[in-house]
């Protein structure tokens, strides 16, 4: 189980998160959503032990994660822009991670590389964005983490790969009794594959609960998301094109 208790975080005096408390259950996938700059990635980094919160704590199965080498060795965070050393191949990254993660599974690594059809000896720097994402996914699952944090899980993946990702994730979490938190702006893909939603809104927790509840109340996750937004559409109107007046486009001369 992943738990945050009253986590607050600020960057150089600017508050990013305030009083975030929720749990992500073992054997389940929790979706973390929010508008741009809401603090999703920051929260994931606090949970991964990378960042120290100003207040509160992040716990993995009841133990604080910050500077907890044992817990961190069972946690993998797939960041939006993962680091690969220049000139490194998948095999090189395998050499890197295998030594740091005690649960590293060579079989899983080989199987995933074959399934994704990625050349293990080719330099990752020559991969496309989507292929680099796939490389990260391979490494993430190969470390056999108990706690999996996936930031922008579908970013760079084509439609078919997104489906693969959903399947892999659901299977892994169930069979390994792991806990996963994922973030994505692709709410349609997300709502069918997660068990719980956590929404961050205005630095604070907006909603925590089962996806089914939101669907029951709003129809879809998208509709719920849009209903919570506080963007003024009128501010964008007419910046580049003719003003729109109801169903007609008024041309100004």
């Amino acid at each position: 189980m992943i738990e945050t208790r009253n986590v607050s975080k600020s960057y150089f005096g600017v508050s990013v998160l305030e009083g975030i408390s929720f749990t992500a259950d073992t054997g389940a996938v929790c979706g973390l959503i929010g508008y741009n700059g809401a603090g999703k990635t920051t929260l994931l980094r606090v949970i991964s032990g990378m960042y120290r919160p100003e207040t509160g704590e992040a716990l993995l199965d009841g133990e604080a994660v910050y500077e907890n080498a044992e817990k961190k060795s069972r946690t993998f965070m797939l960041t939006e822009d993962m680091y690969f050393p220049p000139q490194a191949s998948l095999d090189d990254m395998r050499d890197f991670y295998a030594g740091y993660y005690p649960a590293w599974d060579e079989g899983t690594f080989a199987s995933l590389c074959a399934a994704f059809r990625l050349d293990r000896t080719q330099k990752i720097g020559s991969f496309s964005k989507g292929m680099r994402r796939q490389a990260g996914i391979i490494l993430a699952f190969s470390t056999k983490p108990r706690y999996l944090l996936l930031d922008e899980i579908f970013d760079g993946l084509d439609l078919s790969m997104r489906g693969v990702m959903n399947t892999l994730l659901a299977d892994y979490v169930k069979t390994s009794n792991a806990t996963a938190i994922v973030t994505s702006h692709n709410l349609r893909e997300l709502e069918d594959n997660i068990d719980k939603i956590v929404m961050i809104h205005g630095r604070r927790l907006g909603y925590v609960g089962p996806v089914a509840e939101i669907k029951a109340a709003h129809g879809t996750l998208e509709q719920y998301f849009l209903s919570e937004r506080d963007i003024d559409d009128a501010a964008f109107a007419g910046i580049f094109g003719p003003e729109r007046n109801g169903g007609a486009a008024e041309v100004q001369t």
Binding site: M50, E67, K72, M77, T79, Y100
Partner: protein, 738 residues
């Protein structure tokens, strides 16, 4: 599968693998700088007897490579530290490492230990190779092993100090450029602080000797502040010991290498350990989110701004107050511009930061205290009772300088720097009195005085120093890079003292008292071994005197006696022209054409008081009454040119001193004045009465501390111009201009 310890071991392996390339490059450089430099360079190898002369007992580093080794040790350790800890500066890399199952302490220690191990190996192996080469080329020698161990340890600790500073720099900074700049600023800070302090002392503290370079010589009047605090400088603390212990060339007086005093090294080992621990604390507290963002740490931004600003400001101040004012204004403009742009970049943090405020307050306190104490220390002269000896600069006639001296001469211009030491109460009191007058006079601009203010207001470049030895054994030096003409004149008061008299006696001691070349009294050489010429002050009669060693000794004894009896006033401000001029020279063939002083000859101006000398010359047929005269008939003069004596009369202001004791000379040119007036018509004297007056009043030798004129005379019977000094304000010859 790797457990926690497995992950830590894996981290060490990864770090080693990642650092091997860089360490290998450093190793190759050190192979060149150490064993190759001492044994592999043709013409400078320890395998060559022509180099070792059987006296060199060991040499680990070639003579021309010491600075390079020191510099490389610093750069090597610095770069290695940046390389080892750069992962905290990149957001993506930091994301990886801070999420691994290795704690921050372990991450830090692993990198530190790998760095230390590789630095040690890549330093010790080249040193060991050098030791092996020495053993083969020069055979084992006492102290060789101790020196090898000490030098190796010193280079290693130097590299580790830079490594530790770079590590701290990375951990406090946000980006690699900021880390490089900040770490470099930290390493440079001791030098910048000390050199800036020295610059301000040089300009604001009248009498400051620290780092003050005399016009002659390559050693400062007193060690610079940078040198004094070199042991506290991470870049320089081992440099002196490196130079001292990296080789041993056996001198005659001992067969033992210089004793090793490892205190400074032990201190710096402690400093490195302390810095390492500091880095560990910073690592634990470091915010991972700082990666990729500069200017987020107020201490870093302030040091990054303060150190280069102080350095540049001191440089500007050294150039001139005006330049530093412009520089300061430019800095203010930049700061305000940054404020307008809304950037909290350098100095405009809106939030008070307690540690940085404390640091600033402390620095301000230290600077103020230092300035007050320093000012007080150097405006108060020591009490006479506490002084056992004082050394004072000499300004007298160079031919009689009886102490080791440095000198420079070009044509008829010359300058020498020498100091006599005085121990008697009276002499110490005299020194303190004169010193007090110079000190109270303050630093005056280099320029000419006018009218009644000429002597006191004309300030010229000159080396004037007073070094007091106190009862405690300590010495204290004051150095002045300029003096007024009246102050230079006041130093002539020492001419009557016992040490100066004894010095003169030593110069004129004669060849029977030993080989002149074996001592430091360069003024003695010409007296004891040079050709002797006698001329009258008009230079129309010149004679070469041939005397044997025994007679030379008698001549010098006579001169010695006469000079001892001569009054200072008569020597430097004579009322009459001498009866004759003796020149002792090793280059008679050329010197007879100019009869001008330079460092390799010596002159004696024989006035009526030189009874012993004149008596000797007459008695031995060496005086020629018929041919010699010290007066000139105006009718014999074709042209007489007068130029006011003014050190600043030329277009180029003097930046190098000239000794104030004028000695006459011959020249082929009418434009060969000691100080040349570049523009304007020559003042040619035509009036016979004026001519007669000048001819009778001009002098062959005179101490230029008062108003007067430089005179050039051409006889009708000669192509040469005779240069003399006409003392006194006199009437201007302007009315006689053509």
């Amino acid at each position: 599968m790797a457990g926690r310890s497995g992950a830590a071991r894996h981290d060490v392996r990864r770090q080693l693998q990642g650092s091997l390339g860089f360490a290998s490059a450093g190793f190759c450089v050190l192979l060149f700088l150490i064993p190759f430099s001492t044994a592999g360079i043709p013409g400078d190898s320890i395998f060559s007897v022509a180099v070792t002369h059987m006296q060199m007992k060991f040499r680990f580093i070639g003579d021309d490579f010491v600075t390079a080794v020191q510099a490389f040790a610093v750069l090597y350790g610095f770069a290695f530290g940046l390389l080892s800890f750069r992962f905290v500066l990149d957001q993506r890399r930091a994301s990886v490492y801070f999420t691994l199952g290795v704690g921050r302490v372990r991450l830090y220690l692993n990198r530190f230990l790998v760095g230390a191990a590789l630095l040690a190996v890549t330093i010790i192996i080249p040193m060991a190779l050098s030791l092996a080469l020495n053993l083969v080329a020069l055979e084992p020698y006492q102290g060789m092993t101790a020196a090898f161990l000490y030098v190796s340890a010193g280079i290693f600790v130097t590299a580790m100090a830079a490594f530790a500073v770079a590590a701290v720099g990375c951990l406090l900074a946000g980006t690699m450029p900021e880390a490089v700049f900040f770490s470099a600023a930290l390493l440079a800070a001791p030098y910048v602080l000390s050199s800036a302090a020295n610059t301000f002392m040089k300009h604001l503290l009248w009498g400051n000797p620290f780092g003050a370079m005399p016009f002659l010589g390559d050693a400062p009047a007193a060690p610079s502040v940078t040198d004094m605090f070199s042991s506290a400088n991470p870049v320089l603390f081992f440099f002196e010991d490196l130079e001292a212990h990296r080789m041993f060339y056996r001198p005659l007086e001992t067969d033992m290498p210089e004793k090793i005093a490892p205190t400074i090294l032990v201190v710096w080992v402690v400093v490195v350990i302390a810095t390492t621990l500091l880095g560990l604390i910073i690592m634990r507290k470091r915010r991972a989110e700082q990666a990729g963002f500069a200017s987020k740490n107020p201490i870093v931004t302030r040091i990054c701004a303060f150190v280069p600003l102080l350095f540049a400001g001191a440089l500007a101040f050294d150039l001139s107050a005006g330049v530093s004012l412009v520089f300061g204004l430019a800095v203010l403009v930049v700061i305000f511009a940054l404020g307008i742009l809304g950037g909290d970049r350098l100095l405009l943090s809106a939030r008070p930061h307690a540690p940085s405020i404390a640091v600033r307050a402390f620095l301000l306190l230290v600077c103020t205290a230092g300035a007050v104490i320093g000012y007080g220390a150097y405006t108060s002269l020591p009490d006479a009772e506490g002084v056992t000896a004082v050394s004072v600069s000499s300004v007298g006639a160079p031919s009689y300088v009886g102490v080791p001296a440095l000198g420079s001469s070009t044509g008829h211009d010359y300058y020498f720097s020498a100091a006599y030491s005085f121990t008697s109460e009276a002499d110490v009191a005299l020194a303190l009195r004169i010193h007090g007058e110079i000190s109270d006079g303050g630093r005056k601009p280099l320029r000419s005085g006018t009218g009644d203010n000429f002597e006191t207001g004309t300030v010229v470049p000159y080396d004037v120093s007073f070094t007091y030895t106190l009862e405690s054994g300590k010495t204290k030096t004051w150095y002045y890079d300029r003096a007024s003409l009246s102050q230079l004149r006041s130093l002539l008061a020492f001419e009557n003292t016992e040490p100066v008299r004894l010095g003169r006696d030593a110069v004129l001691a004669g060849p029977e008292n030993g080989d002149a070349s074996s001592d430091m009294l360069w003024a003695r050489e010409a007296f004891t071994g040079g050709d002797i010429f006698l001329a009258d002050p008009t230079y129309r009669s010149m004679f070469s005197l041939s005397i044997d060693a025994e007679n030379r000794a008698r001549l010098l004894a006579a001169i010695r006696a006469d000079i001892s009896a001569q009054k200072t006033e008569d020597r430097y401000f004579p009322k009459d022209e001498p009866l004759g001029i003796l020149m002792f020279t090793f280059d008679g063939e050329n010197d007879v054409n100019s009869f001008s002083y330079h460092l390799n000859n010596s002159f004696v101006y024989l006035d009526e008081s030189f009874e012993n000398t004149l008596s000797y010359l007459n008695a031995n047929g060496l005086w020629f009454d018929d041919g010699m005269t010290n007066s000139i008939d105006p009718d014999e003069v074709e042209t007489l040119i007068v130029q006011p004596y003014d050190p600043y009369i030329g277009i180029n202001k003097p930046s190098f001193p000239q000794s104030p004791y004028f000695m006459s000379y011959l020249s082929d040119s009418p434009d060969d004045f000691r100080i040349l007036k570049d523009f304007g018509e020559k003042d040619i004297v035509k009036d016979p009465a004026r001519k007669k007056q000048i001819l009778s009043e001009m002098r062959s030798a005179y101490f230029l501390s008062e108003e007067g004129s430089l005179v050039a005379v051409k006889y009708k019977s000669s192509n040469k111009w005779v240069y003399k000094f006409w003392p006194g304000a006199g009437d201007s010859a302007m009315n006689d201009k053509e």
